[in-house]
Structures are given as C-alpha cells and as structure tokens.
Amino acid sequence: MVPLNWYIWLSGVMFCIGMFGYLTRRNIIIMLLSVEIMFNAVNISLVAFSHYLEDLTGQIMVFMVIAVAAAEAAIGLALVILLYRNYETISIDEVSEMKG
C-alpha cells in the first residue's frame, strides 16, 4: 500500500505548484487554472486522510469542494468575459483603472 506520507507530499507539491502559478502568471485564465490545481491538491490530501483515518467526512468534503469549485469557475469565467468586453484583454497587468 502507498504510505500516507507520499500523498501528503504529492498534495503539498501540487499546492505549491498552483500557488507559484497563481503568483507568477499574468494571464487570468492561467491564474484560474492555478487556483483549480490548488483546490485539487486539497482534494487529494482530504481523500488520503479520509482513507487512512477510515472516516468518510473527508470524502464528503471533497464532493462539496468539487461542486463549489465548479460554481467558482463559472463565476470566474463569466467575469473574464465581462473583462474582455470592457478592456479587450485578459492580462491582469493591463487592468488597472485605479491607482493610489
């Protein structure tokens, strides 16, 4: 059986990759995808913990996270479309009406 540690490392590394992507990329869609990677890192760790603790709560949580992440993606993409209509760009650097 795969030891729990491996899963924790996997999810930790995935989470960091997602965070790195979010902080370095300037394309909003890539940033959204990076956040999704972070969510899925959480899902991996929740399922792994749930399996090793022999407790179903973690897996129930994963379903909720997946559902909410879908809603979040829907809103995010709608906002990106709105942004494109108003600014004709999806780079976060070019979106700066406000300063100060």
């Binding site: 924790i8 999810s11 989470f15 997602g18 979010y22 909003i28 940033m31 959204l32 956040v35 972070m38 969510f39 890192a41 959480v42 760790s45 929740l46 792994a48 913990f49 749930s50 603790l53 407790d55 709560t57 973690g58 129930i60 949580m61 909720m64 996270v65 909410v68 809603a71 979040e72 809103i75 995010g76 906002l79 990106v80 709105l82 942004l83 108003n86 600014y87 976060i92 979106v95 700066s96 009406e97 406000m98 100060g100």
Partner: protein, 475 residues
C-alpha cells in the same frame, strides 16, 4: 444523537426562500423598487424568526449568543444596504432584481458561517458569501472600474479559499474530525500544540482570514475593490463579509486552537500593528474619499484584530461592540457619498466636498458626525467601540498595545477631519455644478438610522453593552 430542530435555522431558510423568490419575481416585476421592498419584508420576517432559546442543528450548526449578535449585525447591514441601493443602482443604470437576491444570498452565507461548528459548514457558508459578493462587486456591467473590482476580488477570494481549504485538510488529517470543538479538545488532550502540521494549518488559517478581513500584508486587493465596486456594494462589503470573517476567525482561533494561543496571539499582534500602521498612513495620502474610506476600513480591521490578542471574553465582547458600531458609522459615511452621486457627477473626491457646508449644510453636519465617529471622538459611537477594545487590552496587561492603537487613532484624526475641513473651510475655485443630490426616501431613512444609532450608541452605550452581557448569560 441530536435531532433536526428546524426552528434553529428558520431565519436562514426564510432568507433563502426570499432570495429565490426574488429571482423569479424579477422576471415579472418591472419596477425594481418593489423587489427591494419585498426583500426588506423578508428580512424583517427572518429577524422575527430568531429562536432566542438557542439550540443546534445536528451538531453542525449552533445558535448561541455569539452567533446571535453577529446575525443581527448582518441583517441590519443587509437592510441598510438595500435602502441605500434602491436609488443608487437606478442612477448608475444597473437596476436589476438579481442584485437584491445576491445581497440576500451573501447574508445567508454569513449567517451560516458564524453559526457553523464544523469546518465543512464554515467552508460552504464562506463560499456562499464570497461567490455572491464577487458578482455584486461587478454589478455595474458597463463600468470598467466595477469589472476590475469584481475580478480582483474574485482572484483574491479564490486564492484565499484554496489556502483555508488546505488548512482545513491538514487540521482534519491530524485530528480526524471536522468539528472545531472536538479539534480543540483533541489537540489539548494529546498535547499536539507543537505539531508542525498543526502549526502550518494554523498559519494557513491566519493568512486566509487575513485576506478576508483585509489585514496588512494581505490587503492589496481591498483599496481597488472598494473603490471600483458600486458604492452601495462597498458599504455592504466593508461591513458584512468583514464582520463574518472576524466572527469565524475569532471562533476558530478560540475553539480549535486554544492550546496554541501563544503562537497565534503573537502573529495576530504583529498583523494588527502592521494593519493599523499601513491603513492609517496610506489613508493620509488619498484624494478620493471612497479610497480613503477603503484604507480607513483596513485600519479599523487592525483595531478589531487587537481585540483577539488577549483571547479573553472581554476582548470578544469588545470586537462585537466595535463591529456593531462600526457598521452604522461606516454605512453612514458611504450613504453620504451615495447621496452626492448623480448621473453625471461622481462626487467622491475630496475636492467635490469643497464648500458643501454652504450649499448643503444639513448633509455636511451628518458627514461631520460620521467622520468624528470614525475617528473615535467621544460623544459618538466610534469612541465606545475603540474604548471597549482598548479596555480589554489594558485588563489583559497589554498596555503598550493600547498605547500604540491610541497613537494610530490620533493619526487617523488627520484624514477624517480633513474631510470636515474641506466641507467647512474651503471654497471651490469653480462653483459646484448644481447637479443637486440624488435624494430618495429610502436613502434618507438609511442615513437617519445610521446617524441616530451612531449618536445614541455614543451617548447611551450602556444599553448595548448590558444587552450583550445579558445575552451571554442566557443562551
């Protein structure tokens, strides 16, 4: 095993029903004012549905004095925001019925969050609140600033949610439960306070809530979002989601991590000092009042964070008193800005206020009261809020922290009173274009409620403090 007592979640159920009903009615009712009025009636019904006896719902959701006070804050916040919005959204050409549904859904999310005793429900409440607010921030669709605000708020919110989720999963993995009470007990009995995974999870929680309540250094989104969003939504966001963030932050720290109080208390102290420093100093340099109020709301988050440092009941009581009063003065200040906004006049820079005392003396006086209150000058509510937090610090032997906070309050007087100075002592170089003000009955009502409450809580605070103490003995 606990039963399912639906009377405990009755207010939330009523609000959910109202929110969904308004989505449907939006299709048939052409005049959006009616939707606003119907929503207000629903909020009133939810208010009367509170089950004062307390109780819990399957052990996931508990109705106690703590959540009661915050729910009252959220419902008042919702009602005042609805009153503010009716005319403003029409002026801005974005009067949609969904707007009111989203306000209601967001409030339901906050109410779920403060009552939750389980990480899962906290997460779901948080997301319901946040997702609705992202859309609200972008509700003026043709406006570039509003879109930018919504997008920045969304990107920040999604990121901080991912962080809190990771914290939750680590917490679940080390303790084997999602119930925050049981987590606290587990950590205590097994002496896990120094466990590295738990420390990481605690830091992740603090970072994520730092984002939610806009504490420095996690505040960079707040000024842009508060400035770009429609003013009515800014008023809503700077009170509701912020108070909800604090409510859950305090609850998680005090119930799940009480044995690690030394660790998080030090971090929170640092955050609070930084938040007051940056919030107050950057607010000095603002020329837009809306942006200045955004930084002021960051600074106020710093004062509230201080209430968490002693980890005492008195501190928690101070936080609640502060947020309750802060709601009225903050919404009041924004309502004055809304009053000055007309179709072709934005009216939210300091220059726009020049000579306001001559042209609209009454509005100037109202703004003066709110500015005094935000500074914390005695006959107003803001003083009582600050006083109760500072007292809890002094009783917990944190005199020097209280000193620092008072010092920053003194700095804040500069930019609040500058608004007053512009209104009373400056004359505009070119005469104010006589665009009038966008007056309406609802706006006047919201403004007078805020004004009366700000003054009353300042002159007779004993009622509020007594009734909060009373509640805590009973439920």
């Amino acid at each position: 095993m606990q039963g399912l007592d639906f009377s405990v979640i009755a207010p939330e159920l009523i609000l959910l029903a109202v929110g969904m009903l308004m989505l449907l009615l939006e299709l048939v009712i052409k005049r959006k004012e009616y939707i606003a009025v119907l929503t207000l009636i629903g909020v009133l019904a939810a208010f009367f549905a509170f089950n004062i006896r307390g109780g819990d719902f399957a052990g996931l959701f508990v109705f106690d004095a703590y959540s009661y006070v915050f729910k009252v804050i959220f419902l008042i916040n919702l009602s005042l925001t609805i009153l503010l919005s009716i005319n403003y959204m029409k002026v801005k050409g974005s009067s949609f019925g969904e707007y009111y549904s989203l306000l209601v859904f967001s409030t339901v999310g906050m109410m779920l969050m403060v009552s939750a005793t389980n990480l899962l429900i906290i997460y779901l409440g948080l997301e319901l609140m946040a997702l609705s607010t992202y859309i609200l921030a972008g509700s003026i669709r043709h406006d570039k600033c509003s879109t930018e605000a919504a997008l920045k708020y969304f990107l920040m919110g999604a990121f901080s949610t991912a962080i809190i989720l990771y914290g939750m999963s680590l917490l679940y993995g080390t303790t084997g439960t999602m119930d925050i009470g049981k987590i606290g007990a587990y950590i205590h009995y097994n002496g896990l306070a120094g466990n590295p995974l738990l420390l990481i999870s605690m830091v992740l929680f603090i970072v994520s809530f730092g984002f939610k309540v806009a504490a420095v250094p996690f505040h960079m989104w707040a000024p842009d979002v508060y400035e770009g969003a429609p003013t009515s939504v800014t008023a809503f966001m700077s009170v509701g989601p912020k108070a909800a963030g604090f409510a859950v932050f305090v609850k998680v720290m005090l119930t799940a991590f009480p044995s690690m109080v030394d660790n998080w208390s030090a971090i929170v102290t640092g955050l609070a000092i930084l938040t007051m420093l940056v919030g107050n100093l950057v607010a000095l340099a603002q020329s837009s009042i809306k942006r200045m109020l955004a930084y002021s709301s960051i600074a106020h988050a710093g004062y509230v964070l201080l209430g968490l440092v002693p980890a005492s009941d008195e501190g928690v009581l101070g936080i609640m008193t502060y947020l309750f009063i802060y709601m009225f003065m903050n919404i009041g200040a924004f309502s004055v800005l809304i009053l000055l906004t007309t179709q072709d006049y934005k009216g939210d820079t300091l220059k726009d206020l020049e000579g306001l005392a001559k042209t609209h003396p009454f509005i100037a006086v109202i703004m003066l009261v709110f500015m005094f209150s935000l500074t914390g000058i005695p006959p107003t509510g803001g003083f009582i809020g600050k006083f109760s937090i500072f007292m809890s610090l002094i009783h917990a032997q944190h005199q020097w922290l209280a000193m620092i906070a008072i010092l920053f309050s003194a700095i804040s007087a500069f930019y609040y009173l500058r608004v007053v100075m512009y209104m009373y002592m400056r004359q505009p170089e070119v005469a104010r274009p006589d665009t009038g003000i966008s007056d309406s009955f609802a706006l006047r009502l919201a403004m007078s409620i805020s004004l009366v409450m700000t003054l009353m809580l300042g002159i007779m605070p004993q009622r509020l403090i007594d009734s909060m103490r009373h509640l805590f003995r009973f439920i």
